[in-house]
């Protein structure tokens, strides 16, 4: 301590809880998208669940993204000029392309029920994989580029953010597949990404004074415990132990998503509560406020709606295709 502040001034957190929801949904979508691409192209399996999860999460991410803009009606301004120096501008192009590629792929898959890959599907799958990597790159890079926030600008942050997105994508896919009574892919990806996340986060926590300070001062320790315990260790153990237990598999998948949420909440909100000049006073956003409830219910509601609509749409499409084939 070198000074005592006798007079401080109020500031407000600029990226509200909607940003946390957006980064969770789009990260999970990218993770599930990559799982779908690997399963489809390398293992030559259907990966229908991963595709539906990726498309639904990506589609639902539009709501928190727009809600986080203080001028949502002006979102077209992103497309009315070029700002190549801004990673966010690149993201504004990558996101709709990613969503479109996943929806097209889902449509194509619904219309063609055979297992073998067509040329178009193969190409679209590869494009989706590439765009999923771009999503992971842009979300991590967008925050890593903010030098004024040492926590985000550290090496550990983009790595942990990306790894936790992979884990969340695998977790969401496992939960969705088991809920519809299918044993799909994702177990290996969940265990590997969880273990690597745990190691990366541990090294980062031990080596970065900013993270340990934020963990100690700004973000409730319980959030980190949720991230490490429920988000990383529990799913890895359960997936490794159980093979086909539906309840445990679903709970493991949901826990992995919640872990990714806890990490984003702790690092997004914790970093923003830290004054860059040690002068501003930031009002903490508590988890039990109406704003947070609105964010979680709104995002979850949008996600469930997208999952239901997409699942039903694909089922109807598949039935119609089957009927036409039989006729």
């Amino acid at each position: 301590m070198s000074a005592v502040d006798l007079m401080s001034f109020d500031h407000e957190i600029a990226w509200r809880p909607w940003a946390v929801a957006y980064f969770l949904l789009i990260g999970t979508a990218a993770g599930a998208g990559l799982l779908m691409v690997c399963t489809r192209l390398l293992l030559k399996q259907a990966a229908q669940g991963a595709l539906v999860v990726a498309a639904s999460f990506a589609l639902a991410s539009g709501l928190p993204l727009l809600a986080d803009l203080h001028q949502p009606a002006r979102f077209l301004h992103f497309y009315m000029g070029t700002s190549t120096s801004s990673i966010m501008w690149w993201g504004s192009w990558i996101l709709p392309l990613f969503i479109a590629s996943l929806l097209l792929l889902a449509l194509l898959r619904g219309m063609r029920m055979e297992q073998e890959l067509s040329g178009l599907e193969q190409m679209l799958t590869a494009v989706s994989g590439l765009l999923a990597l771009c999503i992971l790159g842009y979300t991590a890079g967008e925050m890593h580029a903010v030098a004024a926030r040492p926590l985000w600008a550290s090496i550990g942050f983009p790595i942990t953010l990306t790894l936790s997105a992979l884990m969340s994508g695998a977790g969401a896919t496992i939960a969705y597949d088991h809920l519809r009574g299918v044993s799909g892919p994702g177990r290996g990806m969940l265990v590997i990404s969880g273990a690597v996340t745990l190691i990366a986060f541990g090294i980062w926590l031990l080596n970065d004074p900013d993270l340990s300070r934020v963990a100690a001062d700004q973000a409730p320790v319980t959030i980190y415990l949720v991230f490490i315990g429920a988000g990383l260790v529990y799913p890895m153990l359960m997936i490794a132990i159980t093979k086909s237990n539906c309840l445990l598999s679903v709970s493991s998948g949901v826990a992995a998503v919640l872990g990714a949420l806890a990490f984003r909440w702790a690092t997004f909100m914790g970093a923003q509560l830290t004054s860059k000049t040690e002068t501003a006073m930031y009002d903490e956003i508590h988890l039990d406020t109406h704003e947070v409830l609105q964010v979680f219910l709104g995002s979850a509601g949008m996600l469930v709606l997208c999952l239901i609509v997409l699942s039903v749409f694909l089922r109807v499409l598949a039935n119609r295709t089957n009927a036409q084939t039989q006729a």
Partner: protein, 240 residues
């Protein structure tokens, strides 16, 4: 021999040149200006007159500030001392807030003012995150990014920024950094000046005289006003 039409063309061009030359010269002179500010901390008493004048002039919503003067207690060899540090946008030469803007809503004018186009801004808050001086915020009233403009609407009319005009101790001095005869240039030449957060290499155009090293970079504070307010807020939240 020139025809009548050519003669008229030449005559018109000549008269135009006579009329526009002073305007063009004034524009060129205006363009060659580079605004900057010197804050003499030896004269600042932390009265907040500048904070209030700025808020009134720019209609900044209650609880938000384009400039403010936090006050610190510093430990020194002679015992504790009080230091007031006026903070505002530094109108940097390399502003980190500009390249991150996804819609080109924030830019530097020819005179070096970093400004926001309120009609273009989508209020994504990225510039607020990128500014190391905490000089930007999302305005409650307008719903877009807001910051100090060096009172561009006043300086364009030949007036001083509101904070400079109101400063009772003449601690804030504003002028053209390109003019060797300006007061700011003379103050910079005759005093040791420092900028805030030099580690970010932003090239700030706000210069401080008498800035304590403890306040130049990351300030490590504790046990002060914020701690007390945070404790009170936490207690109030728990009660609620």
């Amino acid at each position: 021999m020139a025809s009548r039409r050519e003669f008229l063309k030449l005559a018109l061009a000549g008269s135009g040149a006579v009329v526009t030359t002073p305007v063009a010269a004034a524009k060129a002179e205006e363009k060659s200006k580079r605004w900057g500010m010197v804050v003499d901390l030896r004269k600042c008493i932390g009265c907040q007159a500048c904070t209030v004048a700025c808020s009134v002039e720019n209609q900044v919503p209650e609880g938000q500030h384009r400039t403010a003067v936090p006050v610190y207690e510093l430990d020194g060899p002679g015992g504790p001392s009080q230091a007031a540090l006026p903070r505002l946008c530094n109108h940097c030469d390399e502003p980190p807030c500009i390249p991150v803007c996804p819609v080109n809503a924030t830019f530097k004018t020819d005179q070096g003012n970093v400004v926001v186009d309120a009609e273009q801004c989508v209020a994504c808050g990225y510039c607020v995150q990128a500014c190391p001086y905490e000089a930007r915020f999302i305005n409650h009233k307008t719903g877009v990014a807001d910051k100090c403009t060096f009172c561009i609407h006043r300086t364009d009319m030949g007036l001083l920024p509101a904070c400079v005009e109101t400063c009772v101790g003449n601690a804030r001095v504003f002028g053209d950094l390109n003019d060797p005869g300006s007061e700011v240039r003379q103050l910079i030449a005759s005093h040791e000046t420092k900028g805030l957060r030099p580690e970010f290499k932003t090239g700030p155009n706000v210069y401080y005289i008498g800035l304590d090293d403890k306040l130049a970079s990351t300030v490590s504070v504790g046990g002060g006003a914020r701690d007390l307010r945070q404790t009170n807020q936490s207690a109030a939240h728990e009660e609620a």
